[in-house]
């Protein structure tokens, strides 16, 4: 009784844990634990967005005026810059005067913005800690930069990852769909019974090969092939990911489309043939339209597999977190990001939580895809009655 609910409980637990951990990224100050950003007490800017901090340190914002403050040039300061202002003697042998000097510097420089560890925060701190806005869900989704370990502030924009995932998956399905359909047509309508019973298990065997083996195969065969064919600096590209994913998606597409085609009523096919239609005409005018929803379901499930696939993609796409313009550039997908970065992200930290938030996105996408497939196949079964 309880065990029959096991899968339901698991799904609920997955949702619970993923979302609890992932939500942290939106409820926490987006600055590394133990660090702070300080300004002069006179500074009128009270709150600041993570992206603005980055622009300041990239010197795209150079005046407090741009942030609604006084007309005052921004003076950048990181802990390491201290030697520009004070000599080593002034800081003391063991940097024991470090906190005082920072304190002094902040007090006398009205335009300063200082980033340093709070162990250097003096007891009689004369500056003001800058309040940093939490990351909004919309910023998380639309942010164009993914630098989760950047200093002074992490950039958590998942747009390049979402784009990377979609590009690679769409590329895969564009390759796999025509090939898979062709094979499904062959198996269901053309092949003799014996040929079919020989080929079908072989094609299904493609689904059994572990994804890490596909990744390895892609790495040593497909990546160099793409590099030399397109004369690229590196072969680890979105295209390599698409090719590998296409091979992996084939069994799904073929099995489901073939099932749908074989469900076409015999009476329908016979009626067409009896009117003098050729077998091929019957296939594309009767069988394919009749099984359209099954074929769609196969394609959607194929995309779902591709979106969630981790290891093979991680090994062949080059993993550059930039918005791709062509499939011949390195890209990074959501699953690959999680796999590559979670090992380095400290437990419970902002980066860790951001990766769980990525997991949530992935879960929502695949859950949606499952629902969509359910919808498409249900509509089909209604049609048949």
């Amino acid at each position: 009784m309880l065990s029959s609910a096991a899968t339901s409980i698991t799904v609920i637990l997955i949702v619970f844990f993923l979302f609890i951990e992932g939500a942290g990224v939106f409820t926490k100050k987006p600055i590394d634990d133990g660090f702070l950003l300080a300004v002069s007490v006179d500074n009128q800017v009270k709150k600041i967005k993570p992206s603005e901090i980055k622009d300041i340190y990239d010197q795209k914002i150079t005046n407090w005026k741009q942030l609604g403050g006084k007309d005052l040039p921004i003076v950048l300061f990181r802990a390491g810059d201290i030697t520009d202002y004070y000599t080593e003697e002034e800081l003391g042998k063991n940097f024991e005067f470090f906190p005082d000097k920072i304190n002094e510097l902040i007090a006398k420089t009205p335009g300063i913005i200082a980033f340093f560890s709070d162990k250097y925060k003096a007891k009689d701190f004369k500056g003001r800690e800058l309040d940093i806005d939490k990351i909004k869900v919309s910023e998380f989704l639309s942010g164009e930069e993914w630098f989760p370990t950047a200093q002074p502030i992490a950039q958590m924009g998942v747009k390049p990852l979402i784009y990377g995932t979609l590009w690679v998956s769409l590329g895969a399905i564009l390759l796999a769909l025509p090939i898979g359909l062709a094979a499904a047509i062959y198996l269901s309508e053309i092949a003799k019974k014996r040929t079919r019973s020989l080929l079908k298990p072989l094609i299904e065997l493609l689904a059994a090969i572990p994804s890490v083996v596909y990744g390895f195969f892609g790495l040593v065969i497909i990546v160099p092939l793409i590099q030399s064919t397109f004369d690229l600096p590196v072969g680890e590209t979105g295209l390599a990911g698409s090719v590998v994913l296409a091979i992996m998606a084939l069994p799904t597409i073929i099995t489901i489309s073939e099932d749908a085609m074989r469900n076409t009523p015999r009476a329908m096919k016979e009626a067409s043939l009896a009117l003098g239609a050729s077998k091929w005409q019957t296939i594309y005018k009767i069988v394919i339209p009749y099984s359209a929803s099954g074929i769609t379901a196969g394609a959607i499930l194929g995309i779902g597999r591709a979106i969630g696939e981790t290891m093979a993609v991680l090994m062949v796409t080059g993993n550059a977190a930039v918005i791709p313009h062509t499939l011949l550039e390195p890209v990074r997908t959501i699953p690959a990001t999680i796999a590559a970065e979670l090992g380095e992200a400290p437990n419970g930290g902002l980066h860790y939580e951001a990766l769980f938030a990525l997991g949530c996105i992935l879960f929502i996408i695949t859950f949606g895809i499952n629902m969509l497939v359910e919808l498409v196949t249900n509509r089909n079964s209604h049609k048949k009655h």
Partner: protein, 250 residues
């Protein structure tokens, strides 16, 4: 010359021999009824006339079938051309999941007719031929599944007529219909006889008696008796035929 002529036809599904040495011929513009108990081979024989049995794996045929003097199992005979000339109506109405109009137009399109006016004209004529026009003229763009069973079957007949065959095969065309629809289809068969050579498989003795000129009685894969319908029903020469017709078995 006979329209359809079969000589010494044997047919096997794998090991099972479904037809034994069938020789029979049919004249142009006649209705021939094939009767006999289930599994007697009458449907198998019918499906040989437009090579529908080609679709089944592991079958084997010997002997010859000639239509208009041409052996339809010869290598150079194109099976698509053959089926265009030999239309078929099935046991259950089997319209395509398309509109009423497209159902009838389908056969024209797959046979290379692209002229819109010609297609429309032939669709309308065919639907009129089966006396369905008044019932469907306002809903040609609706799905064929919205029609009643009897209407669907007449639509399927119209679909077969649209490509202007000279032979029409009917495999128990009224077995899934109510009595009123059955009467309409029978009436239709009677009218179509003037233009087509019709072969009809039926379970229904009265139907065979009403619509056919000649009747063939099949039993266990053999052609037992073949004669004018009147003769078969009033004074059959073979005992098995008489037993079947009088309902003593079958």
């Amino acid at each position: 010359m006979h329209k359809i002529e079969s000589k010494n036809v044997n047919f096997n599904y794998g090991e099972f021999q479904a037809l034994h040495d069938i020789s029979m011929s049919m004249k142009e513009n006649t209705v021939t009824a094939l009767i006999g108990p289930s599994g007697c081979g009458k449907s198998t024989y019918l499906r040989l006339l437009n090579r529908m049995n080609d679709l089944i794996d592991n079958t084997h045929m010997t002997g010859s079938i000639l239509i208009d003097g041409v052996d339809i199992y010869e290598r150079q005979t194109n099976v698509d051309d053959l089926r265009k000339n030999v239309g078929m109506v099935f046991q259950k109405p089997n319209p395509f999941p398309k509109t009423i109009y497209e159902n009838v137009a389908y056969g024209l399109r797959v046979n290379g007719i692209t002229d819109k006016n010609e297609i429309e004209e032939r669709v309308v004529t065919s639907i009129e031929q089966v006396a369905l026009w008044d019932e469907v003229k306002d809903k040609l763009k609706k799905s064929a599944f919205e029609l009643s069973g009897g209407q669907q079957q007449r639509l399927c007949i119209a679909r077969a007529l649209a490509i202007q065959p000279s032979v029409l095969l009917m495999d128990e065309p009224t077995s899934a219909l109510d009595p009123i629809s059955t009467a309409k289809v029978e009436e239709l068969i009677y009218e179509l006889k003037n233009k087509y050579t019709i072969v009809i498989v039926t379970h229904n003795m009265q139907q065979a008696g009403r619509v056919s000129d000649n009747t063939a009685f099949f039993y266990m894969g053999k052609l037992i008796e073949y004669d004018k319908t009147k003769t078969i029903f009033t004074k059959p020469t073979i005992k098995q035929t008489e037993d079947y017709i009088t309902g003593r078995f079958g």
